[in-house]
Symmetry: C2
Subunit: 309 residues, 2 copies
């Protein structure tokens, strides 16, 4: 089954479009994972990240359809961190989750092929065994082609950065390009490219293998981009800790409650340190409650996802 | 000593601005590294990449100042590949080479900090121990700040993608932005950003820690960008195999023969398979001759680098 369709089935089955971001940071991990670890000992930290990441997966797997490990925090620990990353991905796939590797990779020609080969495809299909990869589009349209090709071969997906959640995303992404009827912002042109790559390749659910990243911190643009990219899954970071609300991200969904994957990282995985969850008996209980709370918040502003095909 | 100054000293000492790209591909490696390896055995391939990468380092270390491992080809082999990458970086630093990690990484806020922490800084300063990292700027100016800060703390550098060597780089990079006197292309505005980040932070040689990537395949833009970014080292891919010539890349140098690092990957590391070098007795001899030939070609079009400060 194509990536886009698998995401749709997962969202319908779980009844929500929540994506849990696995972004481990030593200073934020529950004490049980870090006691006795020297912050200069990268191998010990990597083991803690693997154990924590897998524990998060165990808690959220019955509740949400998708997880998104952030490669940077594992790379920070060198090769040992990358071993931990592979371990977390494999565990998540084993638990029936869809895994989006957040690596924001890209390069040209055969090097882009290498990144696609590295990250796209479950199990032994690729070295990292993830279902999808976030991709940066600065290099241009041809740099996306190797990814698109590999997606089709391996039932995988990509999420192209279109409008990112950071305050400075406008520096490039909001600038106006072109002339006459084609005049538009960088993010609009990227959205049109993303949509064109899905054209004619939509799964039964109506979405194709090329998704987009649009930050929850820009709700107006999210609504606009939902319109431009009617065939794309939109991965929405910036919920919660960065300021995006359930009302904001509701603009990224289609009327059948599909089309958006709303990511929360810190707000879920480090819930034990939030005052809101200080009465939870364990860190695991805090993660579970935070996940359920996020699902409930989203459901107040969006239709419960249903099979419209 | 700052990264920019170390590069300058290295280029003057070796008498050239050649960067050797370490881009291993199983099908192109000399047979001695690959005999008996099953292409599905990623760990065995990773060992071959490490051995080959280190052998390349041994050959080129007396001749050139800089090497640039391409992360993608190592990531393609999963965690075992990343162990091989760390091994090659450490070996190159030990041989006195400056190491630019070609990862084209970036993200926002604390995630960009994690990438900076991962790759910038020699030895135990960072997990990967490299001197510099290539960085993609789609996320905007604020996404570069964590890298700039870490560069200053660790005598490291970054190379920001400005105008890349691929045929489709114009899709975004050549588009016109803005209005009136500020009207310019995306690559011109990125170049202005790069230059501004070095302003007031130039080392004795005149360059700062923020470099730029400009493809040899666009000589007109290279000349223009040398003018806009007078304080930046320019890393020039696209020489040789991609079509850039010594005359083209000469436009990226300052009058003292400094300011550009010209990368060749396939044309050097896989020289044994080029008809030009078929009379070489060993693959190592082919690599050595190809490196010396490239140095000689560049010297016909550029001033021999000298200490102008």
């Amino acid at each position: 089954m194509s990536f886009a369709q698998r995401v749709a089935e997962g969202v319908v089955a779980k009844g929500n479009g929540v994506c849990v971001g696995i972004d481990p940071r030593l200073e934020s991990l529950p004490a049980s994972f870090t006691s006795g670890i020297d912050s200069r000992d990268r191998a010990a930290q990597a083991s803690a990240y693997a154990a924590f990441g897998k524990a998060i997966v165990d808690i959220v797997a019955p509740l949400v359809p998708v997880v998104k490990p952030q490669a940077a925090f594992f790379e920070q620990l060198g090769a040992a961190g990358m071993t931990a990353l592979a371990d977390v991905v494999q565990h998540a796939v084993g638990k029936g989750l869809i895994v989006i590797m957040d690596g924001k990779r890209n390069d040209i020609g055969s090097t882009a092929e290498a990144y696609a080969d590295a990250y796209l495809g479950r199990g032994s299909l690729s070295a990292w065994g993830s279902d999808a990869l976030t991709v940066s589009p600065y290099l241009g349209s041809d740099s996306l082609e190797p990814f698109v090709k590999t997606c089709a071969q391996r039932e995988a997906g990509i999420f192209v950065l279109v409008k990112t959640s950071n305050p400075g995303s406008g520096f490039l992404q909001d600038q106006l390009l072109g002339a006459g009827p084609n005049r538009g912002t960088v993010y609009q042109q990227m959205a049109a490219l993303v949509e064109s790559l899905n054209h004619g390749h939509e799964a039964a659910c109506g979405f194709g293998q090329v998704g987009a990243v649009v930050g929850a911190t820009y709700p107006e643009q999210l609504q606009e981009l939902r319109g431009i990219m009617s065939s794309s899954w939109i991965l929405i970071p910036g919920y919660g800790a960065q300021g995006g609300t359930a009302k904001d991200v509701a603009l990224g969904f289609r009327k059948d409650g599909l089309g958006a994957l709303v990511n929360s990282s810190r707000g879920i995985i480090f819930a034990h340190s939030l005052s809101k969850y200080k009465d939870c008996a364990t860190w695991e209980a805090a993660v579970e409650r935070a996940t359920k709370d996020m699902i409930a918040e989203l459901s107040q502003h969006t239709t419960k996802p249903f099979r419209s095909w």
